[in-house]
Every structure is written in structure tokens, then in C-alpha cells.
Point group: D2
Chain length 342, copies 4
């Protein structure tokens, strides 16, 4: 048996907590060594110690400089991702970084360059690739059951919109929300996106429109392999978190419905009713968060390529940027055009 | 092409109307020659002529004695079935008779004897064998997909109870309602029932109890092939007509859910809702009523055995009588015991 | 009771047969008076007489000039629709015309003008509006259950591609196939389409590409009410006829799945299997063909607007033409641009 | 916050491991203090220490006598349950005991008596009451949505039969397997069982028959509240672990289907396929094992009644014994008869 990967987590917010608890409790292949957060509260301090972390600090440097730690999980605010990635690479640590690496393409490129030079692994937190439903669709495709891929359809709707002040700094719906779906689209098609065309509207909350964004969006896709596709996003589905994917091809179609909290159907005078989909992404992707970390640990342990690379993150960003240009300029936009502009 | 079967319908009540209209409009293999009902109203007269019937009469004899008619569909009141079957057989007509032939076993036996002597076909109106769902389950079994049959489960619940005055003359829930399910059980098991044990209760309407019957019943079954089974009946399922069957065996299980009027699911804040099952037996078994008549016409045209024989009707009746004895005497009752008592 | 609508059917091909049989057998509100087909075969002649048609002819004029006939159902080849519509209007007959009225916008406009002048009813054969599933979705929207409509998604895939020689004269996938979906999109959104953007590919059959068409297409839609939408078409879904619609709005989502021939699920070692969707449009829309004709008869009888007007047919055609321009010129195209060009 | 419940686990076999890991990792309200197994292997020793157990021993006495431990989880072999329950009660420990307490009614009664005298809590490991699906059905009933309960139906089939040598010492299918379903039946009906009637057959494996047992069984139930019900068991469902419950009443029906590993449907030429149900009870009831322990901890912490008491365990045993007598003597058997015999 190989030695356990020793991990330090930087950032103890919502997603950092999830990763730290998964590492400490649910993943035998890894060990939680430290947790750092520049605004660590007393409560977070106590929580971190309860998880058995050896280092609990407000200084990420304590993790970066610790000789026993060989991997860093970056969950701090987006504007620190690129810098921490570069520093972690410099310290020879393998890196799991939440998406996006940065909102600026040049900074992303710098971070990827640092990773390449250091020869460390970098995995981006596109957890949905590890979802039991979506991974199963990909298996059908890879097994040849679907034949050639013709159409990829992704439905991705949030249960409730973020506050407008968040929207204003989020980078917009394509960078903040649909980037997950661009990654899913590339994952399911098994190749890159070549062109996008965006439609968008502000139908959920006028404040989002005032913040310069749309809350309802639909993007047509063309893929390198000739397939076509579509993603639709809404910031608010009153019935919960709506996450569905369909891949249609020459031999058939594989489609994933939403996960429900239970299978009970109630038949009464008013009809037949079942539960709404799981409401929140933490429930819906609970196991996917664990599985992406296990995958990262295995990639490091066996020195294999990670399943979601820094280059994937960059490609998804190009798609999101192209979608933004398309919406603004009301024309189809190629990924090549965006890529060439940097 | 063989000549069309020329049919006279006796009885123009609810079920007679269905058969007459199906014969006149939906089944190219047959021709509606006559309709007789001893209480034929002016409205029924006009309806019958509108269907193109050559003979429209209050005298069933006009149908029985017509030389051009070669088959009779008996839909009159239950107490006339046996007599009309005997007369039809005597007149050399093939017979389609609604269930039951009679509430008295000796009269059923006399009718079957008359049919045998006359050498005509007799099919009993157990329409559910022709239902698209239940016939599909049987196909799975016959194709060997299910392997040996181990367990047969039948759910059969009406949307609303009949009036207590009807219950009083109906012969009771086993003869009136569950007899369809005994027939289905034998059809799905592919063999006879050997023993039943009944549980029953009056939970829907106390008036039904006063009329000496139960409105909720559950009967355990043993089959000749060693399989076991269960039927449950309720006189009232508020969500509509509940008709489901499952056959479980060594290689798998085939189960039919209810038919719904459409496939739409509405997802809202209160959950995900779809329609109730089709409410009434005329809607639910609409196509089965047509298909049983086509099957009857084909059995006559090709001189092949009918798919639901008079003997089937008798066997189903033994099972229903056994269930009644079991409920009354609180003990398992064999079919052999009932059969021997006549 | 009002007098029955007396109908003459022109064209006795596949769809003409369906309408004539529905009129003759399944719709009490109407009467089949005549059937004309310029290439009427002996077999068609015998079939038409068997349905009770008083006029059976190779000359459509016999229907147009018959004083007792007050409505014409036009099912002849597309290139004759406009002319027959104009003649029928001139003869004062109400008109049910199969889609499209013509492949040329000016000819469609002429036909509509003739109809307006004559003051007769004209209904176009967009049967899917009458489908039990899709009509139910519309009911949810109209009842306010969905709230404001945000996104309309239509999946529409044929079980097998037409022969390439048909494709060559069909007007292309948008006019020939997706026009049904443009009509469905407008029906479900409750308003017109303002702009389309098309993606297309030839992935099913290279011969279709040689004929100058695509066999896989995806069109983004914008609606007058601000909603957005998408339609995807494939000429070949190996699992059968795939016809699904989803309408998503501020209060919920209504989605229709495919109809299956039965509800049976087989659970075996290899998984849980159910039937493929109904394979062919005649099965899938069997009842819708009846219901659209009943609706037409009622519109005439009560002098109410038809549910699918000639103007609807023209609007759907503009959408289809816009989609074709979009595919060719690789840009979003407004309906206004197309409309202005005629 | 109350102090954490300090738990010692006795028995480190399959189910002991599950409980110990759940206690150590997934349930913040409890603390794993010790693990004892009279045959503790080196591997088990290392596993137990890895979970952070302070006491790891081959002597259960070390747990029973430890002053810091206030609750014991008994997962050792069935023949030791009663004795360990009595000793734990004597030591003043609260007790979570796997089912059954013993195969002998008098020994069960002695254990319950000891628990009563000691005034400690005793919860029996009927985990299925905590299942997300079955608990949801009960909620519907308790909320009044189902109205009066009329019929309870339970399907419970194992994916593969146990070895015949196990069957020989298991106490038979009713004590070993269906006892879970008797508990579920009482839980869903909200009252006791009054009478059972059993049908059984040996259809899966003749060796099970030679061991004196059946492998396929169906038991009719009558409940104290007048409802009726049925349980069917098979030792082998080739498609996996089949665990379904339906409760039908005056206002509607709530029914739970099986859990599937994912929601993907594949539509191909051969039909539409989805995954088999979760195969094994450890997967199917993974969360229920956690939730029953949380419930136990809360009952102790708040000094409330446990949700599955020792008396429940005794009642379920009476039902299982009655079912055995019924099968042997081919007659309905009341619970009162069995109860009176002890």
C-alpha cells in the first residue's frame, strides 16, 4: 500500500468545509494535515481541530511550507486561486483547485505555466464529472452503446438566484454558473467546443439585469467531432436544483433525470405526487465531491493524469467568454476567436 | 378472404353498447347484423339503427332465429346468460358471453354441456387477458424471460363502490369483482389455482357490510405449478381505477403499472405531480374490449380454440366460491373441495 | 342538435386515408360525403365505397361542385394545396388543409387572401397541438400553473430518415420536419417567434447531405414575450419516434415524456427494461388526428375561430425559412427580416 | 450541548463493522470508545484502533465494566444477544441490540425483564423503519394523507439465497428474513398484527427444502385496526434486492419503489433500460444504519422512548412464530394463540 496523500486545505468557507470533512472522514486514501483560512474564526478553529488537523492557522504559508504536506486543496476566494496555485506549485505540492482558477485568462495561463514547470498535478474542481448519473452516461458513450454522438443537451437550473451584489462580482452567468455545463458538455461529447451562440434574458429578478447580467440563458454549441448541443440555465427553478443531461447518438440515447430524496409516490384525489429533486448542490453532488477527491488522490498516488486538468479549466473559460461575447454582440462566436485574442 | 362473421348482440345496456359499437365501427372482420333488448327504448332503437343493424328488436328470438347471423354476443342481465347460451348453441350460433355465465354452478355446467353438444365456440368476456399491459407480461413468461413462475401479485381496485342494493344481488365481491382477478391469476400463472385463503373487511362503506359483503379483500393463492400468489381488491381507490399485475420468477419479474391519460409531469413548489390513472374500466380496457372481439372472430374464422373458454369461466367461478367459503369459515379452501361439491 | 358537417376529402394517400376513416367512423359530428383522388386506384375506390362515401371520383371538381358538401379536407400533394384552397374557398366550402399550404410564401398569401374574401374557415393540419400530452402542458400554462414562460424545449426526432430523393424535394428539414415544432413552440409559448439561430449537421446519412440538406438540427428561439427556447431534430432515433416538450416558467415546469405501448417493466439480470416509444407518427398521434377534425367541425358548427389558422401556417413557414437562412449564413435571423422580404 | 454518548461495540463481524464505522465517523452525537470481539483477528484489531477506539479487546467484559462507556451496541452472534443484553442492563448501560434478541421467547422475555428492572434504554436493530422511503410512507399516514389504513403490502426479496448450512441454523425464513417485514408491517399499520396465514414453497434451491425451510413465502396479515395486508419473500431476485412497500387507505395510497444507483435511462433499438435496484442490503440501507444509531443516541440523550423497543422485537417474533405454525399446520394462526403459549 502506498502512503496516504497528506493534504492541506486553504480556505474554510462552504466548499472548503466540505472538502476538509470529506478528506478527514470519508476518504481512507488521504489524510487531513492542515487547514488555513486568513479569516479563521474561533468556531472554524475548533471545527478544524475536531477534524484532527495538525496545522490550523490563519496563514496559508504554514501549509505551503510544511514539508510533510504533499498536496494542497485551494478553496479560498477566486481572486487568490491563481496566486496560491503558483505558490503551491513552487513549493512542489500537488494541487486541487476550485473553479475557476481566475477570471483573467492571462493569470490562468501563468498559473498553468507554473504547474507545468513544477511538474506537479493540478486538478480543477469540476465535480459534476464524478456525479453518478453523468458519469454513467459517459460510460455508455465510451462503451460504444450510443454510437457516434450527435446531440448533447444539458439542463442546469439553480433553485434560487444569488443576491444581486454577488452577481455583480461573479463574472456573469456564463463564467459563474454555466462554466460547469461547458465542462459537462465537453466531457460528454468527448471533445472540445468550437462555437457557441447565446440567447439570454432577465426573467427571474430585474436586479440581476441592473447588475448587467441575465438570469435565463440558452447556448447552442458546436463540437469538434461535428456534434451539436445546447445548454439552458435558469437562476431559479422553484421545484429545486434541476440537473439533467442527455446524450443522443447513432445507436441510442442516454438521459439522466434528477435525483429525488425518496422514491415514494402518493396517489390521491388530486393526482400522483412525488418529491421535488434534491434542492441544493451540496446534497445533489455530495458523493461527487468525495469521488473527485478520491480521483485526485489516485492520480497523484499512481502518477496518472488527473481527470479534470488545468487545461480543461482554461477551455471551459474560453467557452464561457465566447458565450458572453455572443450574447453581447448577438452573433455566433468561435472558441478559436477567443483563444486567439489572448 | 373469409366471409365476415355476422353478429347479433343481445342486451343493449352499458356493455352491450360497447360491444355493438366496436363490432359496427372498429372491427373489419365482423358485421353487426342485429341488436335485441327486451326493454329496448326509443333512444336505443335509434342508436341501433344508426349503427346499421338490420334487425333491431325487443325479441332476442329474432336474432337467434335469423339464418344469416352466425354468432351471438350475450350482454343481457346475468340471470339470462345461461338460458341464452343454451338457446344460441341450439340454434347453432357461436357465442360470446359476458361473465359470469350464471351464479349457479349447475346452470353453468348445463350451458357448457349444451355448447359442447352443439359444437359451437363459446368465449367468455374476460377482457383483461387482452389488455396491452397484462398480455405483455404473459408474453414475457411464455418467451421464457421470467423463468419458472414463483409469485403472482394482482392489485385490482375500483374507483368507487357500487350502490349497496347492487351489492346485495351481485353475488359478493369474489363473484362480482375478484372473479376477473382469479381469471388473470390463472392466465398469468399458466395453470389452475389449487387453494385460496381469504381475508376481508368492510372499510369503505358500512352499508356494504349490512348487505352481507366485504369491500376490501385479500386472497392468498396456490397454483398447480407450485407458485403462490395474492390478489387484493378494494371497492374504492380515490385516485381511480388501480389495475396492476406482477409476475415474479426465477429469471426476473415483469410488472405492469397503471395507464395514465398523459405523460406530463408538473414540477412545482409542492412537488412533482402527474395524472391519476384512467378512472373507469371503459377507458382503461377500451382497446381490450375490441381485441377480445377480434380474437373471438378469428377463433371462429379459423376454427381455433377461443382464448377464454367456458371452462375458464367455470374454473374462475370455483375460485370465487372457494374464496367466499374461506372468508366465512376462516380456513384455507381447496378448489378440489368446491369442485367435488357439485 | 346542429346538422352534421358534410365533408369531402381530396387526396387518398396515407394521410387522406387516415382523415377519411376518422371522419367516417370515429367522429359523430361529421359525415363523409365524398373522396376524390386524381390517381384513384381500384383498391382505393373499393375502400372509399366501403366507408360509405356517396361521391368517389378521380375529379376533385365533383367534390368542390357538390352543393351538399360544406367542407373540404385537402390531403393531396403539397403543390396542389394552394390551388385547391383557393377553389374550395371560391366554392364557399370550409377548408381543412394539410400542412404546408405551399412552399412559396406568395402562393400561401394568395390562398389566405382567397379564404378571407370568401369568409370560410381554414384550419391547417398541425395535429400535434391536439396531442393529449402537449395539450395538457398548454393547459398548465393557461391555468397559470407555470407562471411566466421562460424556456420552451422541444425534442422531435423521427425513427428513420426519408429516402434522399424525398429529401431533395421536401424543402429541407426546417420546412419539412421542424415546421411542426415551430408551430408547437408558438403554441406553447403563447406568442410568436422573433428570432432563430440554427445549427445543423449531416450525421445520419451522407446522401441527405448530398441532397443539400442536414439531418440533425438544433434551433435557438426567441419569443415575443421574452422567453427563449430550443428545438432539436434528428432524422433517425433508433429507439423510435421521440416527441417531447418541456415548458419552464416562474412557478414550475411541465414536461411530457414519450408515449409507450404498454407500462410493463421487466427486471432481469441485465437491468430493468421497458418498451421503446411508439414507433410511428400514425400511432403516436392517432387520437390527435381525430381530435383536430372534431375541433374543426366544432369551429364550423359554432362559427368560432379555428385553433390552427392559415396565419399560423404562414408564421410557422416564416420561422422555417428563417432557420434555413440562419443555417446557410451562420447568423441569427429575425422573423421580421423574412416577413419583410415578401 | 449534552455530552456525547460513549459507545462500546460488541461483535466486529459484518454488521458490527458497519455500526462501529458509523459511530466513529458519521455521527457527531456519539463517540466510539471500545470494540470487543471474542475472536478478534489482527486485522480487526488494526481496523478498530484505526477508528480511534480506546478499548480494543477479545473480552466483552472490558466494555461492560468500563465506567466511561454508557451504551453498548450488541452485534455478536444471535445466541449471545440475550445474555449480553442482561449483562449490559446489569451494568447500567443503554443497549442497542441487533435483531433478534434470541430465538427463544422465554430468553427474550428474561432479557426484556432485565432491561425494565435496570431502567435502561433498549433499541432493536430494525433499521428499515429509518429508511428514507419507508419512513416517508409512514409520514404520509401520520399526516392523515392516506386516511384510514386499509391494505399494507410489502415486497421483500433477497438478491441471492444464503448457503443451506446457514438456513439450517437460521430459525427459518420467517424468523431470519420476514421478521424485518413483520416489523415493517406493524410500523406502517401503526398497530399490532392479530393473525397470519402463510403460503410457502421451495422454488429457488432444493437444498433449502432439505434443510427444512421454504425459500418463497407469502403471508396474509390481519391488523388490530381492521386493516389487512400481505408480505411476500423470496430468497432470490436475480435483479437485486427488492424492497418495496405500499400503504393503501381511504384517502389514497403511498408506495415506495426500489432505489437505483443512478437515474440514467438508455434508449436503444432493444428498448429503454435502466439500472437494477441496489444489490445489497448494506448499500440499500446505508443511511438507515446511520439514522437508527442517531435516533438511539437521541433517545438516550433526551430520555425519550426508543423508536424500536424490545417489545417490538418480541411482537415481531410472535408474528414470525405464528407464520411458521401456519405454514406447518396449514391454517390461519392468531398472535394471541402464540402469545398465550408462552
Amino acid at each position: 500500500m502506498t502512503e496516504k496523500l497528506k493534504i492541506g486545505v486553504i480556505g474554510a468557507g462552504r466548499i472548503g468545509k466540505i472538502h476538509a470533512e470529506n478528506i478527514a472522514r470519508f476518504i481512507p486514501q488521504v489524510k487531513l494535515e492542515g487547514i488555513a483560512d486568513i479569516k479563521l474564526s474561533a468556531e472554524q478553529d475548533s471545527w478544524a481541530k475536531g477534524l484532527g488537523a495538525r496545522i490550523v492557522s490563519r496563514d496559508p504559508g504554514e501549509i505551503l511550507n510544511d514539508p510533510h504536506i504533499n498536496a494542497v486543496v485551494i478553496c479560498s476566494s477566486t481572486d487568490t486561486h491563481a496566486d496560491l496555485t503558483i505558490k503551491s506549485a513552487g513549493a512542489g505540492k500537488h494541487i486541487f483547485c476550485e473553479k475557476p482558477i481566475d477570471l483573467s485568462v492571462p493569470k490562468v495561463k501563468s498559473a498553468l505555466e507554473a504547474v507545468r514547470k513544477a511538474g506537479v498535478k493540478l486538478q480543477i474542481g469540476f465535480n459534476r464529472r464524478f456525479d453518478h448519473n453523468f458519469a454513467r452516461i459517459r460510460e455508455y458513450t465510451q462503451a460504444g452503446a450510443i454510437g457516434g454522438v450527435h446531440i448533447v443537451k444539458i439542463t442546469s437550473r439553480d433553485p434560487a438566484p444569488p443576491p444581486p451584489e454577488y452577481v455583480a462580482v461573479s463574472g456573469g452567468i456564463f463564467i459563474d454558473m454555466m462554466i460547469h455545463d461547458f465542462d459537462m458538455a465537453r466531457f460528454q461529447a468527448g471533445c472540445g467546443i468550437t462555437e457557441v451562440y447565446s440567447s439570454g434574458a432577465c426573467l427571474v429578478d430585474p436586479e440581476i439585469g441592473k447588475a448587467g447580467d441575465v438570469d435565463t440563458a440558452l447556448v447552442s454549441l458546436k463540437f469538434e467531432n461535428g456534434a451539436i448541443g445546447v445548454i439552458d440555465n435558469s437562476r431559479k427553478a422553484v421545484y429545486g436544483y434541476d440537473q439533467r443531461v442527455e446524450v443522443f447518438g447513432s445507436k441510442g440515447s442516454a438521459a439522466a433525470e434528477n435525483d429525488l430524496p425518496n422514491t415514494v409516490k402518493f396517489s390521491g384525489e388530486g393526482g400522483v405526487t412525488q418529491e421535488k429533486p434534491l434542492y441544493f448542490f451540496l446534497e445533489r453532488y455530495k458523493q461527487a465531491f468525495i469521488d473527485e477527491m478520491i480521483s485526485f488522490a489516485e492520480a497523484v498516488a499512481r502518477d496518472k493524469p488527473v481527470l479534470v486538468s488545468g487545461e480543461d479549466g482554461l477551455e471551459d473559460m474560453y467557452a464561457a467568454l465566447a458565450a458572453g461575447v455572443s450574447l453581447k454582440e448577438k452573433r455566433p462566436v468561435t472558441i478559436a476567436e477567443i483563444r486567439a485574442s489572448y
